[in-house]
């Protein structure tokens, strides 16, 4: 059963998370992440879940890591700044093969590299989903928990101020459903002579002679798992009007919605422009991007940063089509990621310039 309601993005995401079975949430307040923490704090007690205001982002990710080992669906989050503190843990949680959803309500788009490459040590990747608006965030939040459980990996949902604070009419599933059953790999407190002792560690684990004891073998297994995820997770992408487009514009997230709108209106005015909006930032929808721009004369990438996703677009197109960066950093006084340049006329103008 789902109720249709006008919800702030942060509340819609919180409801979708609890509906997906999330029963543990923790974080440290920082705009524009704070509202999500507040809504989770209000909702989780209703379903006998736990939400904790941590003392820092380091503590938050540590608690979420611990909760994840118990097999209950856990989530944390912050802005890109807080995510900087969490990077070591995200690397370790990935290698420990634990499901965890991380909501990154970033300030602007300067943290694309941080989100998709990760700032932690080692040869790891995790899934990154970038919704453009509230209805899509509801759907991707459900998907994030599903993918986290399926692949036993951290999944990041990458949003921003616009997503966190825009209200939209959405259908959100009821939060009253039961949480998923605890999987059999989870730590359940039994040990000692019970025969049920387990270890879940980024270093593998187990005892000599058993699988997982050899660190090299563990790292090899982690690498194989990431390769399997890279090939096995369906890349998601939103493509419009690329068939006969002279110029294809690539953008992601909320800014992607501005760009998409600009392209739609330029189409209305007769300009042969198309758009491609990656939704999974990892795995990047390289083949879809490559195919979408195959007939175009040029590709333009618009980001609210100095040019980060543009590198993935260039890797996807491999020189087949010239790729130009038309975005740039844009900040207002608040520093929360609202950009004066992030408006349809200015974006449209840059698109038209790229067409000439």
């Amino acid at each position: 059963m789902s109720d249709r309601a006008l919800l702030e993005g942060s509340e819609a995401i919180a409801r979708a998370a609890v509906a997906a079975g999330c029963r543990f949430f923790t974080g440290y307040p920082m705009t524009p992440f704070t509202k999500l923490l507040e809504y989770m704090a209000a909702l989780l007690p209703e379903v006998d879940g736990v939400c904790m205001n941590a003392e820092s982002e380091l503590e938050a990710v540590g608690m979420a890591w611990g909760a994840a080992t118990t097999g209950h669906l856990a989530a944390t989050g912050s802005t890109g700044q807080g995510l900087s503190l969490m990077q070591e843990s995200l690397s370790e949680i990935t290698n420990a093969r634990l499901p965890l959803v991380v909501f990154n309500m970033a300030r602007g788009q300067g943290d694309y590299f941080q989100a998709t490459r990760g700032g932690g040590h080692g040869d790891y990747r995790h899934i990154v989903l970038a919704p453009m608006d509230v209805p899509e965030a509801v759907e991707l939040t459900r998907l994030a928990f599903e993918l986290a459980s399926q692949w036993r990996t951290p999944v990041m949902v990458l949003g921003d101020y616009y997503l966190a604070h825009t209200y939209q009419a959405v259908s959100v599933p009821s939060i009253e459903g039961a949480a998923p059953e605890v999987p059999d790999w989870a730590l359940n407190g039994s040990s000692g002579g019970s025969g049920s002792a387990k270890i879940i560690s980024p270093l593998g684990g187990g005892v000599e002679g058993e699988e997982g004891f050899d660190l090299g073998a563990h790292y090899a297994a982690c690498a194989a798992h990431i390769q399997e995820m890279s090939a096995g997770v369906d890349p998601l992408v939103d493509i419009g009007f690329c068939d006969d487009a002279e110029l294809v514009v690539a953008a992601y997230g909320s800014v992607g919605k501005f760009v998409r709108y600009a392209c739609l209106r330029l189409r209305d005015a007769g300009h042969r422009v198309g758009y491609v909006r990656p939704i999974t930032l990892w795995p990047f929808p390289s083949k879809a991007v490559h195919d979408a721009v195959a007939g175009a004369a040029n590709v333009a990438v618009y980001e609210q940063n100095m040019g980060q996703m543009v590198e993935d677009v260039r890797l996807a197109t491999l020189g087949a089509v010239p790729v130009e960066f038309i975005g740039g950093p844009s900040w207002d006084h608040s520093g929360f990621g609202i950009g004066p340049d992030i408006n349809v006329p200015d974006i449209s103008e840059r698109i038209l310039e790229a067409m000439t």
Binding site: R4, L6, Q168
Partner: protein, 182 residues
């Protein structure tokens, strides 16, 4: 600006109920089964300061991003911060102006101006703070985007529990605005 998408920008000074009016209209349209988007001002809303909001209503999934450069309609509760909005109103648009307090020229030849002495009407109803609800009632009927029942239910969803004693007065103000727009 796509077919079927209708934008509303509201402007006023903090304390006039601009954010509440945006919520009531948006919640009302949601109750009526429409697709709706709302984005409010973010720069520290305070009593007496600048406050504005954008609402988009459609029968289809919303294409518009949260920040728009032009609008089909506007609600002007006060003139003090309205200058940035002035050029954003599209030709033939719908502009509701609170004539009780608004002191500036409007481009009446460019768009349809509906004069609403909202603060006076609200004062007659017993509370000048009801002006935004009067305006919302007029807007619902003039725009054809929200029903009176939708507005009333939207208002009940928007009013915080500590203001629940105002629900009846708000309903009266919505109805008064709706009647004025006949």
């Amino acid at each position: 600006m796509s077919s079927g998408e209708r934008e509303l920008m509201l402007t006023g000074i903090g304390g006039q109920g601009v954010q509440l009016a945006a919520q009531v209209i948006a919640q009302g349209a949601t109750v009526d089964g429409k697709e709706v988007l709302v984005f409010g001002s973010y720069g520290g809303m305070m009593r007496g300061g600048n406050t504005d909001s954008t609402v988009v209503i459609s029968d289809q999934p919303i294409e518009a991003p949260p920040v728009l450069s032009t609008t089909w309609s506007a609600i002007l509760m006060h003139h003090q911060y309205w200058t940035p909005l002035r050029e954003r109103i599209r030709d033939t648009g719908l502009v509701l102006v609170n004539t009780s307090v608004f002191e500036d020229e409007l481009d009446a030849d460019r768009y349809q101006v509906v004069e609403v002495p909202a603060t006076d009407v609200a004062t007659d109803l017993g509370n000048p703070l009801l002006a935004a609800m009067v305006m919302s009632g007029v807007y619902g009927r003039k725009s054809g985007l929200v029903s009176l029942d939708g507005l009333a239910e939207g208002m009940r969803r928007s009013v915080p529990p500590y203001r629940s004693q105002l629900i009846e007065a708000n309903e009266g103000a919505l109805a008064a605005g709706w009647e004025m727009a006949a």
